[in-house]
């Protein structure tokens, strides 16, 4: 049995679909952020796998993943700062209860 590129893309695709499902069904902001993290991670895997299988002599996919990881870290830190601020003023981080800024 040969492990072809498809065998790596399918787990990453399932991971991405889990992220989509969680992002839509979860009401807690941190849980939504966790789902977002899953989706980002699935995309990272795709970059690395395509780099490794199709262009093994280059390192573009690897560097793109490195930068994507750094951006994901920055984005998560900022999002959590916002979530904590929202919690401080609303005492809740469920998106269905946060309707104050809608008007």
């Amino acid at each position: 049995m040969d492990i072809t590129i498809l065998y790596y893309l399918v787990p990453s695709l399932i991971m991405f679909c889990c992220g989509v499902y969680g992002f839509i069904t979860r009401r807690n902001m941190i849980a939504m952020l966790i789902s977002l993290e899953l989706m980002l991670n699935a995309v990272d895997i795709n970059f690395v796998v395509f780099n490794r299988f199709l262009y093994p002599e280059n390192m573009e996919g690897m560097f793109f993943t490195l930068f994507a990881i750094a951006i994901a870290a920055a984005e998560t830190a900022l999002a959590i700062a916002i979530i904590i601020n929202v919690f401080r003023s609303a005492k809740n981080i469920s998106v269905s209860d946060l309707s104050k800024m809608k008007h």
Binding site: C18, I24, L38, L54, P56
Partner: protein
């Protein structure tokens, strides 16, 4: 032909990625969700190690598992009671979520099968990228070198620090 050990390794990694990412979005306790996310990220790091990108696997463990998950756990402790479970899902919302996930799956699976010639590419031979090559590629300005994105990331991180302090400080 792959060796048996490599196939077993692949099976363990792929199954744990699938299992833990499903558990991350289906468990109702938020702290468990963060823990399963940690396991998913570890499985991803193992995948990078298996594909011969040792540096990337190390970065994945250090930044994701060491940084982001800790951040998640702290913010969970600050904002929710850890024992609480989220309320039961309304079936309408569940159906919507499953529908969106299946739609994504169908589109991506169609793209995969449509390109089936590419999908059967075998693992080519590759030398592990050496630390020296990674360092010169990260610090050069020539072709296939990444000094500019590197500096842009450092500015982004600075902006992120300032933004985090401004957003989260007490008024």
């Amino acid at each position: 032909m792959e060796s048996v050990g490599s196939i077993i390794m692949y099976l363990v990694i792929a199954l744990s990625i699938i299992l833990f990412s499903v558990l991350t979005v289906t468990t109702r306790k938020i702290l468990r969700s963060a823990t399963f996310l940690l396991f998913t990220l570890f499985a991803t790091a193992a995948l990078y190690f298996k594909l011969d990108y040792e540096f990337l696997g190390a970065v994945q463990i250090a930044v994701y598992a060491g940084g982001i998950v800790v951040l998640f756990v702290f913010s969970i402790f600050l904002t929710t009671h850890p024992g609480d479970s989220s309320e039961k899902l309304v079936s309408k919302k569940k159906v919507l979520g499953v529908f969106a996930a299946l739609l994504t799956f169908a589109v991506a699976a169609f793209a995969l099968l449509y390109r089936c010639g590419m999908a059967l590419t075998k693992l080519p031979e590759m030398e592990n990228p050496k630390m020296h090559e990674i360092g010169t590629a990260l610090m050069g300005t020539g072709e296939y070198q990444y000094l500019l994105p590197f500096e842009a990331i450092s500015v982004l991180l600075l902006a992120c620090i300032i933004g985090g302090v401004v957003v989260a400080r007490k008024r």
